[in-house]
Amino acid sequence: MKHRWAMAIDLDRCTGCGACVVACSAENNIPVVGEEEAAKGRLMHWIRVNRYWEEDSPSARAVYLPVPCMHCERAPCEIVCPVYATYHNEDGLNAMVYNRCIGTRYCANNCPYSVRVFNWYDYKWEKPLDEQLSPDLSVRSRGVMEKCSFCVQRIRRVKDKAAEEGRKIRDGEVQPACVQTCPPGALVFGDLEDPDSEISRMFRDPRRFRLFEHLGTEPHVVYLKRRKGAGV
């Protein structure tokens, strides 16, 4: 059963609230680094919400741009890894294998979206905060890269369930943590193999654009332009 997972981010809905960021941290055992490390630009978040200013005061406007891993079809990070620690898997996901990673950090350099984060230390969870850690995926040790996996453990969970019930996966059944929680429903996730899925519909939306499209990375995350002006 082939899949082509993809995400659409509707900037006309996104309010920049950051629910996705915390949801992701909770789902994916993402460490908290503290103020000093944050100052060094070492936040470990797998999804970040860029806040850009448009024009200057007084008519300034903030523009929000959530940036997860794009799971590029032609991923620049994959070819440069000397040990195949990151590769394209059968579902068209850009996979990261911690066991194999030796930490050249070349993939991170080659990612135009800078969504890959590096384990600068062995991050610790002060007890008993570690009770919350999810048993479905590993806690990464120092020296390896990590990044958004489209919550592969959730995908797997749904796949198993569907298999057990001997049926296909329903549209919208698989939801990464960020998509699941997004209050205004700005994030949509689904399977492009299914032409009638909502995600396929959004991929056909005229407002659609991709980040750094000119680089030819063919991301599996598309954005829907924010409508300007009246729009009434």
Binding site: V22, E27, L43, R51, Y64, P135, R227, V232
Partner: protein, 731 residues
């Protein structure tokens, strides 16, 4: 259900080896169950429905529990308020459950009061202490017992109220720093209903918001955010337009199509300006019939006059008015920024007036006033206790403070996330007053500024380990009652306040026993909902009762059309010469009123506007900064007539000139190491002023001065100061 979920005996045997990388960390022991719980497969997660209490909105949640540990919180898809969605604060609640600094055992003060020197004691000792003190003051008239809690709803509130009544003490105070007093008053004045309306953002065509941060902290943010998304993109042909007026470009304002910076406290005037145009140009049916208003003085508020007061261009105001009228159904709403001024009620009344003039009341895509407690008529007078109006309780708090000072109280029961010692303006001298009370008992999960002052601290479960029921103040029209249940065993040896009160009542006996006949709070709940026709177990599984018959909407039309609100100017403490800037405070998106400040996830969540983490800051516009000779990242002393604090300057191109804006929630002095020393607490430099009509706290009521100062550390922001302007490189 609780006892059947006998998880804690289980460890190891996980399918995922070496969760922590090194093999040394694999559990070497495998501890099976003595008696395996039913409906539970080892290593397979279960979901339990409950309710989020990170803010008063009352969203339904489901919690993923694996091997006895809560792993993930998600919105409850069945719940009408949030429909499966959840905000950052809700997501982060897990960390309060497993927080290293949670209170695990009862504590008794050993050092002098307020010294924070405690010793661990057993529950028996703690309860006997509590009861001993209660017995001492029992029967005195008036009973010198104070109960100061966060606003409680559902049967938790019922129990507390009955306890106090039976105990013979009238002083039951619920404190909510962001109570809706002005909102209620305004609705009463304009619609004749003292309640929070249902606002149908999802189906509106034109949303006009006055300093209302409804997407982040005001009212029921998740519900509104969901609706906002729908308003924008759910309809095939219509995309609702969103115009925001306010002193600061908040996260909410950033989503607006049009943001008009206006001077603080002039929201009402701005609304009248728009109303003026509506009536003058006879843009709506209701406006045509509003000649009374016109003569009462609306005619004075020409866009030009209004522009002078607010700073918005008259042309744009008129334009907005015409658009607002031209796109029905529309919706006008206002939030903390407008309500928190000394003229809050006036502001909100004027905004409400716009809804009347545009005929939004009772319309789909407009607003309506459902009767949310219709399902509880059987409680008669007490029905109100289940869903009390969302008031701040500020007058009562002030009264209580006075009475404390005058020695009117012998004992105080404190509880709650609203943490009065932190959220009450320092000028009120709450701390000093409280210490005048001989015996203080705190029901708390953390040692925050308030519980720190007490003689006896009783550890209570977090809401993830607690029973409860609730009727959300907004987001449903009375069809929904939320149930919360312990999703995991109590992680520490804690007891909920309700249970302790019931135990006390049993001990004290007599009338109290009659008022509170239950053995446990859980029993109270089961009994309360036995009659509803839906099996208790099912209700728990679904997270509550979501299909109750909604009460009839209450009439909003008054006999005579609404009168023109009495014009009131916002007043600000401190003379402009000494304090050049107006101080605009707003609840932090991550920490709300400060309750989130001890959660690492929230501390590390970049603020949506400033992108700052782990610390608070003060925002001024680049223009203002130039005048003051300040630049981005400078350390400054923010001084008001009532106090001063240190903060870092964060230049914000979206703040109205002459305004200094600061988020509330940071600046704790206790509340754990993640919350401590993260900058100053803005509450502490606010004056103890009231909103002129509804007597709620007037947060937006002082001026401040900024003077450069050398302060340790720096403000960490994730945005690159230069890069954040280069949107052109990306889109």
């Amino acid at each position: 259900m609780l006892d059947r979920r006998n998880f804690l005996k289980l460890g190891g045997a996980t399918a995922f080896a070496a969760l922590f990388g090194g093999c040394d960390k694999i559990p070497k022991k495998i501890i099976p169950f003595v008696i395996p719980p039913e409906n539970h497969t080892l290593g397979e997660a279960l979901w339990y429905a409950s309710e989020c209490r990170q803010c008063p909105a009352g969203c339904g949640i489901v919690v993923r529990v694996s091997e006895g540990r809560a792993k993930k919180i998600e919105g409850n898809p069945l719940h009408p308020v949030n429909r499966g969605k959840l905000c950052a604060r809700g997501q982060a609640a897990l960390q309060s459950l497993y927080h290293p600094e949670r209170l695990a055992r009862p504590f008794a003060l050993t050092g002098p009061r307020g010294s924070g020197r405690f010793r661990e004691i057993s529950w028996e000792e703690a309860l006997s202490l509590l009861l001993g003190e209660m017995k001492k003051i029992r029967g005195k008239a008036p009973t010198p017992l104070l109960m100061l809690t966060e606003p409680m709803r559902g049967h938790r509130n019922l129990v507390a109220a009955r306890f106090m009544r039976a105990f013979g003490s009238p002083d039951r105070v619920a404190w909510d720093p962001f109570g809706q007093d002005a909102f209620l008053a305004a609705n009463e004045a304009v619609f004749g209903v003292r309640d929070v309306p249902e606002i149908d953002i999802a189906r509106t065509r034109y949303l006009l918001s006055f300093s209302g941060d409804f997407l982040e902290t005001w009212g029921s943010p998740v519900h509104y955010a969901r609706a906002y998304g729908a308003m924008r993109q759910d309809r095939a042909t219509v995309r609702g337009k969103f115009v925001h007026l306010g002193p600061r470009l908040s996260m909410t304002a950033a989503s607006a199509d049009l943001f008009l910076p206006i001077a603080p406290g002039t929201d009402g005037v701005a609304a009248l300006g728009i109303a003026h145009v509506l009536v003058k140009e006879k843009l709506t049916a209701q406006a045509i019939g509003a000649s009374a208003l016109w003569n009462e003085g609306l005619k004075e508020f020409t866009p030009e006059v209004v522009a002078k007061k607010t700073g918005a261009s008259p042309r744009v105001l008129a334009y907005v008015a015409r658009e607002f009228a031209g796109n029905q159904p529309g919706l006008a709403m206002a939030g903390n920024g407008a309500a928190g001024c000394t003229n809050g009620t006036f502001n909100l009344a004027c905004v409400a007036l716009l809804n009347v003039l545009a005929g939004n009341a009772g319309m789909p895509g407009g607003l309506s006033f459902p009767n949310r407690v219709a399902a509880f008529t059987r409680y008669g007078a007490e029905a109100g206790l289940l869903a009390p109006p969302p008031e701040s309780g500020y007058p009562a708090v002030r009264g209580a403070v006075g009475k404390m000072r005058s020695g009117g109280f012998r004992m105080a029961l404190l509880s709650g996330s609203t943490n009065p010692a932190f959220t009450l303006p320092a000028a009120l001298k709450f701390r000093e007053a409280l210490l005048a009370v001989p015996f203080i008992v705190s029901f708390a999960s953390f040692l925050d500024e308030t519980s720190f002052l007490s003689d006896l601290v009783l550890p209570v479960p977090t809401f993830l380990e607690d029973w409860g029921d609730d009727i959300a103040p907004a987001g449903h029209s009375g069809e929904a009652v939320t149930l919360s249940q312990p999703v995991v065993n109590a992680f520490h040896d804690t007891r909920s306040m309700a249970d302790i009160l019931l135990a006390a009542a049993k001990e004290l006996g007599g009338e109290m026993r009659r008022a509170l006949p239950w053995e446990s709070f859980r029993e109270c709940l089961e009994e309360a909902y036995r009659g509803t026709g839906k099996p208790w177990e099912d209700a728990l599984r679904e997270g509550g009762f979501f299909s109750l018959a909604p009460g009839p909407s209450r009439a909003t039309a008054r006999a005579s059309g609404p009168a023109l609100p009495k014009v009131a100017e916002a007043s600000f403490e401190g003379e402009a010469a000494k304090y050049p800037l107006v101080f605009h405070v707003y609840p932090s998106t991550s920490h709300y009123d400060g309750r989130g400040a001890n959660l690492p996830w929230l501390q590390e969540l970049p603020d949506p506007v400033s992108t700052a983490v782990w610390r608070n800051w003060v925002e001024i516009s680049p223009g203002t900064a130039k005048e003051l000779g300040l630049s981005d990242g400078d350390g400054v002393i923010v001084a008001s007539p009532s106090g001063s604090l240190e903060a870092f300057v964060s230049l914000h191109p979206g703040v109205a000139p002459g305004v200094a804006a600061m988020p509330l929630g940071q600046g704790h002095s206790h509340y754990g190491k993640d919350a401590r020393d993260r900058g100053g607490n803005p509450f502490s430099i606010l004056p103890a002023r009231e909103e002129s009509v509804a007597r709620g706290p007037a947060w937006q009521s002082t001026r401040v001065s900024l003077t450069r100062a050398k302060i340790g550390g720096r403000l960490v922001r994730t945005a690159h100061p230069e890069g954040q302007w280069k949107i052109g490189n990306v889109m």
